[in-house]
Amino acid sequence: MIEIENLSITFGEGASTVHAVRNVSFSVAEGESYGLVGESGSGKSTILRAIARINPQWSGTIRVNGRYLTSKRTKAEARAMQMVFQDPYGALHPRHTVDAILREPLEIHGLNNRDARILAALKDVGLGPEFRFRYPHQISGGQRQRIAVARALILEPEILLLDEPTSALDVSVQAEILNLLKRLQQDRGLTYLMVSHNLAVVAHLCGRVAVMNRGRMVEEVTEDTLRAHTPSEPYTAQLMSATEGYDREAVRSYRTFD
């Protein structure tokens, strides 16, 4: 479904060049959930943004559904692939009602039956029709993230790009959104590519995970490897240890990986 080969992304020129992503390759099968984890500056979000063509410059190849992506996004690609963002406050237009937010993609793609589709989309994400004409500031963070998911799904895409979709939410709300994403995937056979800094969240949703550090892929691990705590790379082991909570002795032994 998604095949990425030798992807490199740099920002800036000359002495100030930043190699955000270096030679990353992976592929995601149809109906699979694939995770990208790493700390800030690891390049995980940059990869996602290249696939969504928010950063239109890269070298290497990105293939989605067998077609090579170019820096220009087509409408057909927009229908096939949608994105959910980290910050539920910034992702919705502050002066559009929920109805307007969900109607927009239908208008862009000239789909009919708009009212029925909007109500169905709300129902799919577990919101009642009473939310339809509210403004984003009138609903909670978790409800906003549900609206963002509904907006991404209303075009019935095959692929959902998830950029830290729960890290701005309270843990109880995070559980609800993760459940929602899992149920939608089971019902519709969606393909997920999810970026997160939280190993437990990624392991919950994804079968395979690429661990990133400083623009490079450190290793690709399976959910089982993560659960068994048996990664092959020391960087992954250190990341896992830090995720498990505070351990005075472990902190003393932390190293810097390049």
């Binding site: 700390e39 309270d170 830090a242 505070y246």
Partner: protein
Amino acid sequence: MSEPLIEVENLRVSFRTPHGPIEAVRGVSFTLGRERLGIVGESGSGKSQTGRAILGLTARNGSIDADRMTFDGIDLLKASPRTLRKIRGARISMIMQDPRFSLNPVVKVGEQIAEAYAIHAHASKRVARRRALEMLETVQIREPEKVFHLYPHQVSGGMGQRVMIAMMLIPEPDVLIADEPTSALDVTVQMQVLALLDDMVRDRGMGLVLISHDLHLVASFCDRVIVMYGGRIMEVLEAGRLHEAQHPYTRGLLNCLPSLDHRQEMLPVLDRDPAWLTEARR
């Protein structure tokens, strides 16, 4: 536990809004010794307002009311603004979540740290500068000489947070209130900063209030944990016994976290019981 540093009894914080008053903190009591105390809760639980109230940093449209609120025997409710200013910063410090609002944008970060030390220790400029560089090194900044001369807008979020922590720790306060001090940081850096705070508690007997939404983090780091919901304390636990928590809210919070250790198809969601807001504390 030694003599309590901070005692709070029946603290209430409320805000006037156009939609009527909102009670952010509703009758919170606790004591802090020379220990690591965690306050955990979701957004809106009143955990941050509790921390701010101790320092008198409640926003202008808010009012604080308590039966008792003391620091080292000083009544914080009746203390003069002069006394409060002396306590704030020098004896009780606070680290906020977003460092950008706490640093002066037109002064180099190193100079801000040095000044914080100079005021506190009446030290010369040269000594203060040396101490500031040492402190930057302590908070795991790799090139302290270089960072010393940067302005706040030139440092990244994570580094800004460490600068902030250095500035708050340099006067060697008796109490540090840290409100989500590490949520903007990467996990490994987060742990290193916590180790630093840990040292301050162990070596110098500082009292630490760690306010966080991360139950596991707080439980693995602190000695005691206060669980808050809706402005009230649900439960106070020995951190090591978090997993024996009794209150359904604490249990719900623990259960809804995805775990690395075992696979779950669906995560249990939290059912909030309105009675939690009214019933007496267990």
